[in-house]
Subunit: 338 residues, 2 copies
């Protein structure tokens, strides 16, 4: 059965890639007020999602997003063979409590803000490998649970650096299917831990840009493609600072992506009116932007193919306090209109 | 290419399962003094592994174990297409800093103490699906980094309940290969989040036993096998309390596994002399026992086939402090002598 599907150093080209059968996203009030507001499946005004703690709120956000996805697709949880899911909290707390009710065999994953790329990659490999007909891929983040984990309690009212990003309250979920849907995953490029030695945890765009550059560079060279092969090359949450660095690094490696690059963190908030400094972040940023604006553009064939490359800062509150660097990782997924 | 390989509700039977080409384990001094001491590849006396913090120590433990594995197998990092790896620390800190130097495309995973089962499952799917010829599967834990995260700083000298387990300082790493080795992975059963509502974080064996029972029950019924089909059914770190509960639950469901059950947490320490109460735990417990005693028994054909079922308590320090339950998950992997 080992008909080899891999190409180059770190990519897979699917001979029979899975379909994106349905998708759904839920975001918070601030994200709903941003430029992409009309594309989200649901906007929830109550940041607590009816719960008592921020962690329970993020679990409820995940659970609700899956419920929306099931309603949209008409599929029941027992028809879904596996879930690949994760979040930013220690020990994947939001996932452990958010998905329990669905009883779907679970592979918990952690790729920081690249998690939706990792989930889509593994879910696609699972279906294309003949291991399942339907697989769920999901990632979430919540502004308040992330601020509490990685920065300062909100009550402190700490000032934020201009290079800092704003964690998105959002969840995106995709149901991949072996036989029908409006788009297909046709390839992936899996990232490596990339560490340029930066230690500034408030400047995650700069910390993650080298990882995005590494994955995009290897993707283009593994597949022998030029940047303009894609309608868009879409990073997750580099923000304005990280975008500049990414484009600069890739130029030195011979690729100019400036005409096709887009960053979910830049798109999801209005920098002029929403006070979000360098842009949005969190694994819910790229996941909710994918499961709204991006897949909508593909569905209506405004874009025929994109490279989705969410980026993660492999940062823990403990590692940062112990003076460690902030390595990055980025996972690339090719999505094409059907 | 969708030649379906899945069977039953949550299992895969590999038509061409990957080989265990090489394995290695490193443990700390206390584990080295236990009953399995002679089987580990290396025992390190210095719990800091030459580093300055417990987290750096666990990263060094991972990095060293991979180095041993590479030496044993004669393979270079660039020959390994993917790594599936994880640990117990928030945001997979030990993995992010422990594996960076090898530059292997990484899928970070989190299944609490079931992580080695999750890593082996995904690595096997990856090779059997034709996506790679060589994949690394790895998990680690460290007594001091885990105590600091989940319990009390060691300096407090807190007393431990009799039902509590002792986190193993250990790492196990396996190199899976598409064509040669002394054992094969022939099937997997992926676990679901199982929550009986227990909140006693010091009694993780009781919290995880229902998940182990669910996975073992579904495994046996998916494959249509009786418990004595296996020479051993091996859980990860249920300890003495969890073992009793597991055997009882499965008896009520019609399976008596008492003659073939073994638990890594019970085997790795001597309850009479090592003061470890209910047994060993941590994802390094099952990973290091697998990559020493267990694979050695299979290699010399003392056991022809086993079901390896590490169990995880989906516990975070925050969720425990917020009064949440402790759900469990368990991932089953069938390993057969060649």
């Amino acid at each position: 059965m080992n008909n080899k599907q891999y190409i180059g150093r770190q990519s897979i080209s699917f001979t029979n890639g899975p379909y994106i059968h349905a998708y759904a996203s839920i975001v918070g009030k601030k994200e709903g007020e941003g430029p992409l507001g009309k594309y989200f499946t649901k906007i929830v005004e109550d940041d607590f999602f009816g719960q008592n703690t921020w962690e329970e709120a993020e679990s409820a956000l995940q659970g609700e997003t899956v419920k929306l996805l099931l309603n949209r697709s008409g599929v029941s949880p027992s028809d879904i063979r596996y879930a690949f899911a994760g979040d930013l909290l220690g020990q994947l707390m939001a996932t452990s409590f958010g998905l329990a009710e669905y009883n779907i065999p679970l592979f918990g994953i952690y790729g920081a803000c690249s998690t939706m790329g990792e989930a889509l990659s593994l879910a696609s490999m699972t279906i294309a490998g003949g291991y399942a007909d339907r697989v769920l891929a999901l990632a979430s983040s919540h502004f308040a649970s992330a601020e509490k984990t990685f920065r300062f309690p909100l009550g402190y009212g700490s000032q934020r650096k201009f290079c800092a990003t704003w964690t998105v309250t959002g969840c995106g979920a995709i149901l991949l299917d072996s036989s029908s849907g409006s788009a297909r995953v046709t390839g992936i490029t899996t990232g490596r831990i990339t560490d340029y030695g930066l230690k500034e945890k408030d400047n995650m765009g700069a910390c993650m840009a080298p990882a995005a550059a590494d994955t995009i560079y290897n993707h283009l060279s593994d597949f022998g493609r030029a940047p303009d092969y894609y309608d868009k090359i879409i990073t997750g949450d580099l923000g304005y600072v990280g975008q500049t660095i990414l484009i600069d690094i890739l130029k030195t490696k011979g690729y100019d992506i400036s005409n096709v690059h887009m960053d979910c963190g830049i798109e999801i908030f209005d920098i002029n009116t929403q006070d979000t400094n360098a842009g949005g972040s969190g694994c819910g940023c790229s996941a909710s932007t994918l499961c709204s604006y991006i897949l909508n553009q593909i569905e209506k064939r405004a874009w025929k193919r994109i490279l989705f490359v969410p980026t993660g800062a492999l940062l823990s509150p403990v590692s940062a306090n112990e003076g460690q660097t902030v390595p990055g990782i980025a996972h690339g997924v090719v999505i094409e209109a059907v």
